[in-house]
Structure formats: C-alpha cells, structure tokens
C-alpha cells in the first residue's frame, strides 16, 4: 500500500472562527479504498475539518491534494470553480447528516438520483431512469417509489436515497458527516451494513465524521480522534478502540454505554 500514492493528501489544515482555532494543523493521507473515521465530541472540529477537506469552506492555511484521474495530485483549492464542481459531482460524494440538505425534496427520487447524470450531459430519459432504478435497488429501496418525492420518505429512506444520489457517478471518495445519527438503532444498523457493503464492493475511499464509536468500529479501517481542533490519536480502528493511548481517547472509549 505504501508504494501507491495516496488518494487524498491533507497537509497542515488550519481553520479559525474569529480568534478561536476550530481546526489546528491537521495532516493525514487517505489511500484508495480506505475508510477513515474522524471521531471526537461535539465542537472538536470534526465537521469543520470535513468541510475544509471536501473543498466546501476554504481553510485559513494548509493544502488539500487530490489524486485526479488524469492530472495527478492537484491542490483542490488551486482548481477553478468549474473544475471543483465537476470533481464534486463525479469523483466525490458528500453525504449530509440531514438528508434534507443533500436532496431536492420537491423532485422525485428518480430525478434526485439522476441529477448528477444530467449535469454530466446525459440526455437520454430511459437510460437515466434505468440507472436510477438500479441504484435504488442497490441501496435496498423499493424501485416502485422512484416517482415519489423524498418528502414522503422516512429518515432512513432519505439517507439511503442520498447515498444513491452520490454514488451514481461511481465516485472514488465520499465524505460522510454523521451519516447515521438521527436514525433509530435498527435503521442505523441496516444503513451501516449497507454502507459497509457499498464501500467494500466499490472500493470506495471515505472519510466518515461521527461521534458514534460503533460506527467507526463497523465501517472504518483507520481512525483519527480529535479534541479541541487537534488530532490527539490516530491508528487502526481496532487498535485505537481496544488499546487507547491518549487520556481523552480512553475517556471516549470508556464513556460508551454497554447495554
């Protein structure tokens, strides 16, 4: 693995909110097909870091390099807006915590999934629809609901639809911001199962921001623990969870309730 270049290279990303440092000098590499979990308590800078890495909010300092298909490693913030948008809808996906932010609530499920295809110039209705139905099945949704709007869907279904909408262009990297929070536990379990199948099956690289250590345990190969904007511990998921070194990680791991 070390011989291959990383898919994403994050170097010294720093972000301020006023005088407060939300993210302090975070660096990491992500390899193709690898799932990285970013854990930490609320306000530890997880989501801010994700936004900076996903080229949604420009960081105050640092570089985010992405291994593009044709031009090698490119700093996403040196790209033009058009290139960045293209990247965001082809090779990248972004799964919001609240599915309402990631979906168009007043257009049908099929159109939600097909939007990226249409943005990339697909102009054949039949093909778009077939592809949309195909993806609804892959995220274990009833293809018969292809013409219903997400407003009529449950929270778990919306989250599935959001995932289908992101994966339709076969991205290589998906950013997920608390993909399972706000869902009840049985739905959470099914969704996690689905995400695991999809990431393995498509060899997707993913950065999953979560405060739920179980999510990290199930999905991630590697994890990063953040506290007050800094990375305090990083390593293989099982290693960090079973043998936490930093006092804060120890606290996190020990605070999980065991039913």
């Amino acid at each position: 693995m070390t011989d291959n270049p990383p898919l994403l290279r994050v170097q010294g990303v720093t972000m301020h909110y006023g005088a407060r440092r939300a993210v302090d000098d975070v660096s990491f590499d992500l390899w193709p097909g690898e799932v990285l979990a970013v854990v930490g308590e609320s306000g530890s800078g997880k989501t801010t870091l994700l936004n900076a890495v996903a080229a949604r909010v420009k960081p105050d300092a640092g570089r985010v390099g992405f291994m593009t298909r044709h031009d090698g490693m490119v700093d996403v913030y040196s790209m033009s807006e058009a290139q960045r948008r293209l990247l965001a809808r082809t090779d990248w996906g972004y799964v919001h915590q609240d599915a309402v932010q990631g979906l168009r609530m007043n257009v049908s499920a099929g159109a939600n999934v097909g939007e990226r295809l249409m943005a990339l110039g697909e102009r054949h209705y039949g093909r778009i629809r077939t592809e949309a139905a195909n993806w609804l099945q892959r995220v274990e949704m009833d293809a018969g609901r292809i013409d219903d709007t997400p407003a009529t869907f449950s929270g778990g279904m919306r989250q599935r639809l959001q995932i289908a909408r992101n994966l339709v262009t076969r991205p290589r990297l998906v950013f997920m911001d608390e993909p399972t929070s706000g869902l009840d536990v049985s739905v959470q379990a099914k969704l996690l199962d689905l995400l695991r199948t999809l990431t393995r099956g498509l060899s997707l690289a993913a950065i999953v921001v979560t405060h739920d250590l179980a999510v990290a345990r199930l999905l991630a190969h590697r994890m990063m623990v953040m506290k007050e904007g800094r990375v305090v511990e990083t390593g293989l998921t099982d290693q960090v969870l079973d043998d936490p070194q930093h006092p804060y990680t120890q606290l996190l791991v020990s605070s999980v309730l065991q039913p």
Binding site: R85, A111, L120, R123, Y125
Partner: protein
C-alpha cells in the same frame, strides 16, 4: 394592402417627455440592451423605473420599448396574440399619448412589436424588433431559489438542473408537460426563459431575422436574442421537443398552422377553437372574402 383595424389614435400629451421616460433613463436602458445583445441570452441587470401601471402588466417591456422607440416607428402591441385585449389597448394608448407614433395591428407593417406571451404567426422580417414582457427572467429559479447560485450556474454553463425539471415532467405525466415558458438554450451558451410564450412559438425564435428583446420590470433584468441566433429548446434524446397540435382548424378562418385558443361558447359544453393571433385570423378571412 393590408389594413389595420385599430380604433382612432389618441392625442399626444405634451406634458410628458417623448416615450414617458427621461432621456438619461432611456440611455441607461439602451446601454443594458446593447450589453444584452452582445451576450445573447445573458440577463443584464438594469435600473427598472416605476411606471404608471402595476408590475406584472408589462413594465419591463414598456421600458424597453420606450427606450428604443423613435417618432418614425410603427408600433404593434399584442396581448396573448390579440390586438384588442385590455393590456394591449392600454399599452398602445400609453405610447400614443406619450409619443404619437403610428400604430398598427398588421405584423408586417410594424417596426416594433411589444408582446405579452405570443409571437405573431406572420413571419417577422429584417429590421423589426420584438419586445417581450417577462414576469420571471430566471429559468432556474423554481429549482434553485438562491440567485447567487443561479448566477454561478449561468457563469459555468452548469445547466443539468433544468433537465431535472423535464425529467420530472416525464416521470409524472409521461411526456414533457411544460407548455409555456419552455426553457431554451441561446447560441449554445445561455439558458433562457423565453417569457410565458407557448412552446408552439419556441421554434419561431430560432434564426429569426428580427431582434428580440426581453424586459422584466419587477426583476430588473433585460436580455436579448440578436437576429439570426440559434435558439434550441431543451429535450431528451428519447423525448424530443414537440409543439402543440390541434385536431381541428380555426373555427373562424380555417387556419391549420396557427396557435388556437379554446373558447367556451355556452354552458352546455359547447366550445370552439380560434386563432390566438387575432390579426392573423382577420387577415386570413379578408383574403378569403376577396
């Protein structure tokens, strides 16, 4: 010779400046028009003025007409194809009172045609100017309410979203159910709302020898299609663009090639189809009488 059937002219009111607007305002609007012509389909912001009629009645179109009209122009005003409906009559009288220009109902005689939601059936010719009244200039607005975002989308020619709307139509109704204000691509670059003309009229915009100007008064935007510019209606490969068709001809003049309005004639289900372009219909009947 084709004769107009308009009521007698109204007297010029000398208390108003020519064409109502002051000269500096007209110049400002002309600058916006020039920019709009230079970038076909691009929405140019302009300082829309308060006009002596309410928004939604064609204030954008009136301001455009007022800024380009000269004493030698011949004006035709139509409202849904008709020369004699309230909006057309009011706007025509307004320009007669403020400019005393000649008016006509005959399409070929007019130099400026201000229209609400139709393009005349008679083909336009070189040197004519069509002025459209536009309520909503932004075709993407219903799908993307943030204007900052729609501007970026125009800037990057990022128009996939418009097809989402057409996809929705087909998914719900089995065909593209948008029948008016049907989105078009101008000169292969800018997505444009053609104002609420029926899609029947969309093909007439393509490679039209006349200059087409669009004014949105409330939204403060002007855009244009220069003569001989390509205007393409959006569609899917397997659901191509189609215009409306009628199973019967116009009940008055027998035309089969014009846009027909359904008119209800009694309360027992009686109805007839007649040309929406009243002048086209009238001239057809005149030709038949001869």
């Amino acid at each position: 010779m084709k004769v107009s059937d308009l009521p007698p002219p109204v007297e010029r009111d000398a208390n108003f400046n020519f064409a109502y607007l002051d000269e500096r305002t007209k110049r400002m609007i002309r600058r916006a028009i020039l920019k709009a012509v230079a970038i076909p389909g691009y929405q140019v912001p302009f300082g829309s003025r308060e006009m002596p009629l309410p928004y939604g009645w064609g204030t954008g179109g009136i301001q455009v007409t007022a800024s380009i009209i000269g004493p030698d122009d011949v004006l035709k005003v139509i409202d849904q194809g008709a020369d004699d409906t309230v909006n057309a009559v009011n706007i025509r009288r307004f320009f007669q009172r403020t400019t005393a220009v000649a008016v006509t109902s005959v399409t070929t005689e007019a130099t400026i045609i201000q229209t609400r939601h139709r393009i005349p059936e008679t083909p336009l010719h070189d040197g004519q100017v069509m002025v459209y009244q536009v309520p909503l200039p932004e075709p993407l607005q219903k799908l993307e309410p943030r204007e900052a975002e729609t501007r970026v989308m125009h800037g990057l020619a990022d128009y996939g979203l418009m097809h989402v709307k057409l996809y929705e139509d087909i998914a719900r109704f089995g065909h593209i159910a948008t029948t008016y204000d049907y989105p078009v691509m101008v000169d292969g670059r800018f997505l444009m709302a053609p104002s609420p003309i029926p899609k029947f009229d969309n093909p007439k915009m393509h490679m039209n020898p006349a200059l087409q100007l669009f004014g949105a008064g409330r939204e403060k935007r002007i855009y244009a299609i220069p003569p001989w510019t390509s205007v393409e209606s959006l569609a899917f490969d397997d659901h191509p663009f189609e215009v409306q068709r009628w199973s019967e001809p116009c009940a008055l003049c027998g035309a089969t090639d014009s846009f027909l309005d359904e008119v209800i004639t009694d309360d027992r289900g009686g109805h007839m189809f007649v040309c929406s372009d009243t002048d086209h219909c009238r001239l057809n009947r005149q030709d038949d009488d001869r």
